[in-house]
C-alpha cells in the first residue's frame, strides 16, 4: 500500500513538474546537503532541466536511502545522493538499500585525514567516537599496536588500553574539544581539514587513509604525501601492515571513503545516459569544478561505468572474515551495536565463486 501511494505521488510529481528530484538523506544545511546543492546548481545547465532537492533526514542518514530503495527509485527522475557514512552503515547495520541494485551516475573518491595536537603522545589518543569514525579507530589500533600479533584479541585489548574513545560528541563539540586540547586527535574531510586544522597553529596532520584504486589497494594522497597509514605503519614497524585486522580495516575505510559523495539511480533508469553525460560535461567546466572543489577539495570524479566499477571493487572486499572482524571490533572495542549480515557475504561470494566471472561485467 505504502509503495502504491509513493508510486502515485511520484507519478504526480514527475508528470506535473518533469524536473529531477535529488534525494538527500539529511536535513538542509548538513554536509552532504550542501554538496548536493552545489552539484545540483552546477549540473542544471548541462542537464537542461531543473533539479529539486528533497531532504529525507533520519537516524544515521539511513531512512532517506531506505525510502529511495523501497519506493522512490522506480521513477526515472529520482537520483539518490549518498555519503560515506551510508557505506559504513551498509556493512554493519540493518538497512534496506543495496548498492548492487543501482547504477552510478558519478561518485567522488575522497580521503579522510586525521589530525593531532602538536607535541602530544599519540600512543594514547583521545578521540571522538561514533560510527562515522570507525575507520579511524582501526587505523589508530594499527599504528599504535603494530605487528607484534595479528590476532583480533590482541588489537582489541591494545585499543582498549591505549585509546580514549569519547562517545556522544557532535561535530561542533568535537571540533571545539580538539581546539581546546580536550581531545588530542580528530579527523576531517579534505575541505574541512583545510578550514579547521590547517588554520590551527596547534594542530598538524597525523595520518590519512589514502585513495582507493581500481584493484582495491590504496595509494598516497598527493595533497598530503607521506602520511598514508600504510606508509607510516611501515616506517614505524619495519613491515607493511597485513593480516585479518588489516583486511577488515581496508574493508571499512574503502566503503566510507571510496563513495564519500555519490549519485545513484535505479538500474535500468532511462535517464542514466543523460545524467552521466551532463555530469561529464560539468566536470570539464573549470568554474563548476572550482565550485565543487571548494566544498570537498581537489579529488577526481568517477563517472558512469567507472563508478560502477568502483562499487564492484568495494563489494569484492567483503569477505566473511573481514566482515566478522569488523563487527567484533565494533562491539568489543568501540561499544557499537553492529550486526553481521550473512546475506551480504553469501550474495557476493556465490556468483564470484560459481561463475568465476568478474562482477564488473
Amino acid at each position: 500500500m505504502k509503495k502504491l501511494i509513493a508510486l502515485c505521488l511520484m507519478a504526480f510529481t514527475t508528470s506535473v513538474f518533469a524536473d529531477y528530484l535529488f534525494i538527500v538523506p539529511q536535513k538542509p544545511g548538513s554536509g552532504t546537503s550542501q554538496w548536493a546543492q552545489i552539484v545540483a546548481t552546477q549540473l542544471e545547465p548541462f542537464l537542461g532541466e531543473k533539479i529539486h532537492l528533497k531532504h529525507i533526514p533520519g537516524a544515521r542518514d539511513i531512512p532517506g536511502f531506505n525510502e529511495f530503495h523501497n519506493s522512490l527509485r522506480v521513477s526515472d527522475k529520482v537520483v539518490m545522493v549518498s555519503h560515506g557514512g551510508n557505506g559504513v552503515s551498509f556493512l554493519q547495520e540493518e538497512v534496506d538499500y543495496d548498492y548492487r541494485d543501482y547504477d552510478s551516475i558519478g561518485l567522488m573518491n575522497l580521503n579522510i585525514i586525521a589530525a593531532k595536537r602538536i607535541g602530544e603522545n599519540m600512543d594514547y589518543p583521545k578521540f571522538s567516537g561514533g560510527s562515522g569514525k570507525v575507520p579511524e579507530a582501526w587505523a589508530m589500533a594499527l599504528l599504535i599496536c603494530g605487528n607484534k600479533s595479528t590476532s583480533m584479541d590482541y588489537y582489541i585489548a591494545c585499543f582498549n588500553e591505549h585509546v580514549t574513545w569519547v562517545n556522544g560528541m557532535s561535530n561542533s563539540e568535537r571540533r571545539l574539544a580538539f581546539k581546546r586540547g580536550e581531545l588530542n586527535g580528530t579527523r576531517e574531510n579534505p575541505a574541512a581539514y583545510k578550514k579547521h586544522v590547517e588554520t590551527d597553529e596547534n594542530a598538524e596532520i597525523w595520518f590519512h587513509h589514502g585513495i582507493l584504486q581500481a584493484d582495491g589497494s590504496h595509494t598516497d594522497d598527493p595533497n598530503h604525501p607521506g602520511f598514508q597509514l600504510e606508509i607510516l605503519f611501515e616506517e614505524r614497524w619495519d613491515a607493511p601492515p597485513s593480516g585479518e585486522f588489516y583486511d577488515a580495516y581496508k574493508l571499512v575505510k574503502s566503503f566510507r571513503d571510496g563513495m564519500q559523495k555519490a549519485l545513484w539511480v535505479n538500474k535500468g533508469n532511462q535517464n542514466t545516459f543523460a545524467l552521466r553525460n551532463a555530469l561529464h560535461q560539468m566536470t570539464l567546466d573549470p568554474d563548476a569544478v572550482a565550485a565543487i572543489q571548494k566544498k570537498v577539495g581537489n579529488y577526481e570524479w568517477k563517472i558512469g561505468e567507472d563508478g560502477n566499477a568502483q562499487v564492484n571493487t568495494l563489494i569484492e572486499l567483503i569477505t566473511p572474515e573481514a566482515l566478522k572482524n569488523l563487527i567484533r571490533f565494533n562491539e568489543e572495542a568501540l561499544g557499537l551495536n553492529s550486526i553481521y549480515k550473512d546475506h551480504l557475504v553469501i550474495e557476493v561470494e556465490v556468483p564470484v565463486q560459481l561463475e568465476g566471472t568478474d562482477l564488473r561485467g
Binding site: 544545511g29 560528541m169 578550514k195
Partner: protein, 473 residues
C-alpha cells in the same frame, strides 16, 4: 542594499508571526532563492535581516494567542498571554519588543565589534563547564514547574524520557523507538512545542468559541510598555546576558536561553506572582530572545561551528552564496562583516520600530473571535511542523504531541517543565558521557569555573524547589 534589508525584514517578520515557525524554518525555505542574488553580499544582508526580524516577530503569537511563535519564544507567553487576556496585549507586546530590540542592539554591537576577542573566552569553557551549565539549566526547570510539584516531577520525567528517544549515543542503536525508523533521529522540537502549547490553546479557543479578550482599550499601552521595559531594565539586562551567554555556547541555543532567563526573573523576584500576567516575566524572557541570536554568530563566524540550529542553516546558505564561515580568508573580508552587521542591526531597529508603531493594530486580533482565524493558524502550524521530512510521520508526531499537550493542560502537568526537560535530555546524557570519559574527580577539582557552577547549581536547586509557585500549566 536597502531593498535586501527591507525584503529580509518583511519576510522575517511574516515568518516570525507564524506560530511555531522561527528563524530556522524561515531560512530553510530560502535555499532555492539564493541564486537570485547577483551580489552575494546582498544575500548576507537579506539572511541576517530574516534572522533579526523573525526573532522579534515571533513574540506576537505567544502573547496574543498563547501559542509560541518559535520554540525559543515559548517562555514569553507564560505571563504575556495572561496580560493579553486582561486587555493589555499592546502593553505586553511593546514591553517585549522594546526589550528584545534593545538587547538585540546591545549584544549585536558587542558581538560584531569584539568578534576576534571571544576566542580566548571560548577556549576556557570546556566540557565540564558545559556539563555544569546544562545541569544548571536542568535545575532551572524547577522555576518553570508549577505548584503541583508531584505532577511537575512526572512532567519532567516524561520530558526526559521523550528527549532520550532516538539513537543511543554510545551503542549508536535505536532507543525507545518501538521499531519506528522515523523515531531514530528523535522527536523533533517543532511538533513538540506546537503540540504542547499551540493545539491545546487552539482547541480551547475553538471549544469556547471565544476571543482572547472582550474589551480592548489600547490607550496609553504603547507608552506604558516602553516605560515598563525601562523600569524593569535589570530583568531585561539579566535576561539578555543569560541569552547571550547561551547563544555563545555552541549547541545550547534556542529555547534553553529563554526559559533560563524567565526562570531567573522568577528567582530574582521571590515576592512577586508569576504566570498570571507579570510584565517582568515577559521582559525577563524577551531579554534573551535577540541577544542569543546575535552571540550565536560568534562560534559560527569564528570557527565555522554553528552556535544554534538556525546558525547551521545560515552557514549552509552562506556557503551557497560563496562564503565559507570559519575560514581565514573570510576574516579579512571587511565587506562581509559589514554586511553581516548591517543586516542584523538595521533589521533589528527597523522591525522594532515597525512593531511598536503597529502593535496597537496588530493586537486587535486578540479581540476577534477565535473561529475567524483558527483555521489559518492550524494550516500554518502544520506547515511549520511538516518541514522536517514532509511525510505522514511528521503529522503523526504532531498529533501525538498535541494529545500530550491537551492532557497536560487539562490535568495541570507543567508543560514548560516537560518541554525544558525534553530539550535538555540528550545534552545532559552526552555531556555526562564526555565528561566522565575524559575527566576524573581530581582533574575536575582543578577547574574554578566548574566549581563555581556546581555551587550555583546547589543554590539554585534549593531555591527552585522552594519557590515553584507557578499556576501555569
Amino acid at each position: 542594499m536597502i531593498l535586501a534589508l527591507l525584503l529580509g525584514t518583511l519576510y522575517g517578520l511574516i515568518i516570525g508571526l507564524i506560530p511555531a515557525a522561527g528563524a530556522t524554518t524561515g531560512l530553510v525555505v530560502l535555499f532555492g532563492f539564493m541564486s537570485y542574488f547577483s551580489d552575494p553580499y546582498l544575500g548576507v544582508i537579506f539572511c541576517m535581516a530574516v534572522v533579526a526580524a523573525s526573532t522579534t516577530g515571533d513574540t506576537y503569537s505567544g502573547i496574543l494567542l498563547g501559542i509560541p511563535g518559535a520554540n525559543s519564544a515559548a517562555a514569553t507567553m507564560v505571563d504575556g498571554h495572561p496580560l493579553a487576556k486582561q486587555g493589555k496585549a499592546t502593553y505586553a507586546l511593546t514591553a517585549a519588543i522594546t526589550t528584545s530590540t534593545v538587547n538585540g542592539l546591545l549584544w549585536g554591537t558587542l558581538t560584531f565589534a569584539l568578534l576576534p576577542w571571544y576566542v580566548k573566552l571560548m577556549m576556557v569553557f570546556g566540557i565540564p563547564e558545559m556539563w555544569a551549565f546544562v545541569m544548571l539549566a536542568l535545575v532551572c526547570v524547577g522555576f518553570v514547574s508549577n505548584k503541583w510539584w508531584i505532577r511537575s516531577l512526572i512532567a519532567i520525567l516524561i520530558g526526559l524520557f521523550l528527549g532520550s528517544i532516538g539513537t543511543n549515543p554510545v551503542t549508536n542503536a535505536d532507543r525507545w523507538t518501538f521499531g519506528w525508523e522515523y523515531l531514530g533521529a528523535g522527536i523533533q522540537i517543532m511538533p513538540m512545542v506546537a503540540g504542547l502549547f499551540a493545539f491545546p490553546e487552539i482547541l480551547d479557543g475553538w471549544r469556547k468559541g471565544d476571543r482572547t479578550t472582550i474589551s480592548h482599550n489600547t490607550k496609553g499601552q504603547t507608552l506604558n510598555g516602553i516605560k515598563a521595559a525601562w523600569k524593569y531594565r535589570w530583568d531585561s539586562i539579566r535576561g539578555g546576558a543569560i541569552g547571550a551567554f547561551i547563544g555563545f555556547l555552541p549547541g545550547l541555543g534556542g529555547a534553553m536561553g529563554d526559559w533560563m532567563a524567565y526562570g531567573s526573573a522568577v528567582a530574582a523576584n521571590p515576592k512577586e506572582e508569576f504566570g498570571k500576567g507579570n510584565i517582568r516575566g515577559v521582559i525577563g524572557s524577551e531579554g534573551a530572545n535577540n541577544s542569543q541570536k546575535a552571540t550565536s554568530m560568534i562560534p559560527t563566524v569564528l570557527f565555522g561551528i554553528p552556535g544554534a540550529s538556525f546558525a547551521a542553516v545560515l552557514m549552509a546558505l552562506f556557503m551557497v552564496l560563496g562564503f565559507e564561515l570559519g575560514t581565514p580568508d573570510l576574516a579579512y573580508d571587511t565587506r562581509f562583516f559589514n554586511s553581516l552587521t548591517f543586516g542584523f542591526m538595521w533589521a533589528t531597529v527597523l522591525v522594532g520600530i515597525l512593531c511598536i508603531v503597529f502593535n496597537k493594530y496588530i493586537s486587535k486580533i486578540s479581540s476577534w473571535p477565535y473561529k475567524y482565524y483558527f483555521p489559518i493558524l492550524v494550516v500554518f502550524i502544520t506547515w511549520a511542523c511538516a518541514q522536517y521530512t514532509g511525510g505522514w510521520e511528521d503529522y503523526a508526531i504532531l498529533i501525538l504531541c498535541s494529545a500530550l499537550g491537551v492532557f497536560c493542560k487539562a490535568y495541570k502537568y507543567s508543560r514548560p517543565a516537560l518541554l525544558m526537560a525534553f530539550i535538555l535530555a540528550m545534552k545532559v546524557e552526552t555531556l555526562t558521557i564526555q565528561m566522565t570519559t575524559l575527566y576524573t574527580i581530581d582533574t575536575l577539582m582543578t577547574r574554578p569555573i566548574f566549581i563555581i557552577l556546581i555551587l550555583t547549581i546547589i543554590a539554585v536547586a534549593t531555591l527552585s524547589i522552594k519557590k515553584n509557585k507557578l499556576e501555569y500549566t
